[in-house]
């Protein structure tokens, strides 16, 4: 036994030099890599054990294959699980090195120069303006007792909260990608809102800058204690240059009695080029538990990027009178594929859920809404309303609606509606006649089509999202 352990330590020393600043974990997925990640983050033993448990479980799982978009087999042994795959010297040195098309997009989105640099991992020596900004915010939050920090920091400073809630919504044993994340997650956000506190500002990954690079396995945990409220924005609002890279993030939300969490995402990862080469595989697990009575979780997502988007932000409505909402826009163009939707699991009495999904498909793209509404036997007076609308642009793309509805309660009420349509020639003609060119007209009509979802977004996000909608569809109408 002792000999074996010694053997391990030897290997460890051999595999990873002491100069931590310089190394990244070698390619591949194994216990040593996980130990390395845990070590480098100076994690307590319980955290490492937890990761290893996930790793063991992973060995018994296989990748799901029921989804519509198929992708080439990922070689998990060929990935880096710590440190970004691109070293600093591979990164573009300045904006001139970037694809001019990207810069064009930034300009259209109105992203300031400093932000642009940041989003492309350009090494900027100057101190960000926002660092000081972030500090001021941090002070304001600390005053109210709100914890908002990288999850690696929370593991050190708030182990009780992390131990209690991490994996309580997405268990270690969930599914392949979620379990993979549990084993190897590098960083992410942690939010705790104390009892009866209304978070005074929108929290966003934008503000939590200079936390270490989160990489492809992000882990987010948000806890809203009794009577609290928080709105969280996840902004991947600029394209990242990555080639067919896997993003398997996990996001867990917990809302206790009378608490409310609003989680908004605008996702615009690199979708691959117009021939479908490259782009991100966005396989994210997002799940919220309305644990307390009268609690509410609301997901809003605008998904315009990624080569493949495959995610179902879900709500487990445990508390009586709890409410789950899902508002989604998924736009796919060229060869992009999306299989997205939600699960609303009604367990408590008088629980309510609402699903509004808008899918837009252009070029050669495929867009699937897949959702589950499950009303449990005990969920008396549960209510669900679902509306899924698809818009097709051109006849080379596809739009699919696959709702699963399971109702085991006679006092419940479920309504589901879905439509598929196209932008009519007449609508375009009308707009053209009023002086709008083809692209302006399409953008206007599609934004109108998405209105019910866009209006759920916080103001500053909504403007950006509206522009994104237009940009994503450029060139899709001849």
């Amino acid at each position: 036994m002792r000999e074996k352990e010694l053997e391990k330590i030897k290997e460890y020393k051999y595999g990873f030099s002491t100069d931590i600043e310089d190394v990244k974990a070698p390619k591949g997925l194994n216990k040593k890599v996980i130990q390395f990640i845990s070590k480098i983050k100076n994690e307590p033993k319980w955290m490492l054990d937890w990761r290893l448990k996930a790793y063991d479980r992973l060995q018994k799982l296989t990748e799901p294959d029921w989804q519509k978009p198929k992708y080439p087999k990922i070689n998990y042994q060929d990935l880096y699980y710590y440190s970004a795959p691109k070293s600093m010297k591979d990164k573009p040195k300045n904006l001139e090195d970037l694809d001019p098309k990207l810069l064009e997009t930034y300009k259209k989105l109105g992203i300031p120069l400093q932000e642009q640099k940041k989003l492309n991992n350009i090494a900027v020596d100057a101190v960000f303006d926002s660092v000081s900004v972030a500090t001021t915010f941090k002070e304001k939050l600390t005053e109210k007792g709100i914890i908002f920090c990288p999850i690696s920091e929370a593991i050190q400073k708030h182990p009780d909260l992390v131990k209690k809630y991490l994996g309580s919504v997405i268990p270690l044993t969930d599914h392949y990608f979620a379990t993979l994340n549990s084993a190897v997650f590098t960083d992410g956000s942690f939010v705790y809102i104390p009892k009866n506190v209304r978070c005074p500002m929108e929290l966003s990954t934008y503000f939590r800058i200079n936390a270490s690079e989160t990489g492809q396995f992000e882990r987010t945990l948000i806890i809203a204690d009794e009577g609290s409220y928080v709105s969280y924005l996840e902004g991947c609002t600029a394209p990242m240059r990555d080639e067919n890279q896997l993003h398997a993030a996990n996001v867990e939300l917990i809302a206790l009695d009378n608490a409310e969490i609003k989680y908004s995402t605008v996702q615009n990862w690199y979708p691959g080029d117009k021939d479908g080469k490259g782009g991100i595989y966005n396989f994210v697990t997002k799940r919220g538990a309305c644990r307390g009575k009268n609690s509410k979780i609301s997901w809003t997502q605008v998904e315009t990027g990624s080569a493949i988007t495959w995610k179902y932000p879900s709500c487990i409505l445990q508390g009586d009178n709890s409410v789950g909402e899902f508002y989604s826009i998924a736009i796919t163009n060229n060869y992009q594929k999306a299989d997205t939707g939600t699960k609303m699991i009604h367990l408590g009495k008088n629980t309510k859920s609402k699903i509004i999904s808008k899918g837009i498909s252009a070029g050669f793209a495929d867009n699937t809404y897949r959702g589950l509404v499950d009303i449990n036997r005990k969920a008396e007076n549960a209510r669900n309303y679902t509306q899924c609308d698809s818009l097709l642009m051109g006849s080379k793309c596809g739009a699919h609606t696959i709702p699963y509805i399971k109702n085991k309660n006679s006092s419940s009420n479920i309504e589901h509606e879905a439509t598929t349509s196209k932008i009519s020639e007449e609508q375009l003609f009308y707009c053209n006649q009023r002086g709008l060119n083809q692209e302006e007209a399409v953008s206007l009509i599609v934004n109108g089509f998405c209105k019910d979802v866009l209006q759920q977004l916080p103001m500053e996000f909504a403007v950006e999202a509206q522009k994104l909608v237009g940009i994503s569809l450029e060139g899709s109408v001849g």
Binding site: S424, Q427, Y430, N432, R434, G435, L436, L444
Partner: protein
């Protein structure tokens, strides 16, 4: 302003217009009347650039070849069509639509784009002038509008864009007398020496309120008769058969 020369149009091998000639000078109001199927709406569609027709002949608009202008370029150049059946566009706020399109036109003419506040001031004024309830501005574009509300919205747009050449495609059909007055009022208030109108209508009714300079009768794809405003009354009494 607008010169149509020997215009013929076919759709799916059906001849609709057959050698139509028309000359509209600046400041004139022309009315085109004709029975159903005589090609009235086709003429309006072709003028505003709708695709799908097989066309021969020529149209010059402000000394430009109209066929060389895209639909939106025609709008930018001040050609406005009030649709017979204005489209419903779900989710698009009417006020937002008006602002976006007005700014597109202004931009193309090298004018400064209006911000939300400036725009609101103008549109409220216009709505009040035309006695149109400004509540429609906050509704989705034409969605759930009554026939009258849709037509009023078209007139509101007309007065907002201040076009040079206005084509009204059966704007009067299906309107009650009050809505009809609003339409007529909108046209009359815009009437000046530089602006021309082409009023396409089936009935003489609208012409009680808007006095045209010329009345043309369109039959079998061409102008069968041209006269002054009395011709409309004559047609109302005698019908089209006599022509």
């Amino acid at each position: 302003m607008l010169k149509i020369n020997n215009l013929s149009a076919k759709i799916e091998n059906k001849q609709i217009l057959n050698g139509l000639n028309l000359n509209v000078k600046a400041g004139e109001i022309h009315a085109i009347m004709g029975p159903n199927g005589s090609g009235k709406s086709t003429l309006a569609n072709i003028l505003s650039g709708k695709k799908g027709y097989e066309i021969s002949g020529s149209i010059t608009y402000q000394d430009k070849d109209l066929f060389k202008l895209e639909i939106e370029e025609r709008a930018h150049n001040g050609l406005f069509l009030a649709f017979q059946y204005p489209l419903e566009i779900p989710g698009v706020n009417t006020s937002n639509f008006l602002k976006t399109s007005l700014n597109a036109i202004r931009k193309s003419n090298g004018k400064k784009e209006l911000d939300a506040l400036e725009f609101l001031k103008i549109i409220k004024l216009k709505a009040a002038e035309l006695k149109i309830d400004e509540k429609i501005l906050n509704r989705q574009l034409n969605v759930g509008f009554s026939g009258g509300e849709k037509k009023k919205n078209e007139i509101l747009q007309m007065s907002l864009y201040e076009p040079n050449m206005v084509i009204l495609d059966e704007t009067d059909s299906g309107l009650d007398i009050d809505a009809l007055k609003i339409v007529a009022n909108g046209v009359n208030s815009l009437r000046d020496k530089k602006r021309s109108f082409l009023i396409i209508t089936h009935y003489q009714r609208l012409l009680d309120y808007i006095k045209p300079d010329f009345v043309h009768v369109l039959m079998q794809g061409k102008i069968a008769k041209t006269g002054c405003s009395d011709l409309a009354l004559e047609l109302e009494k005698a019908g089209y058969e006599k022509i």
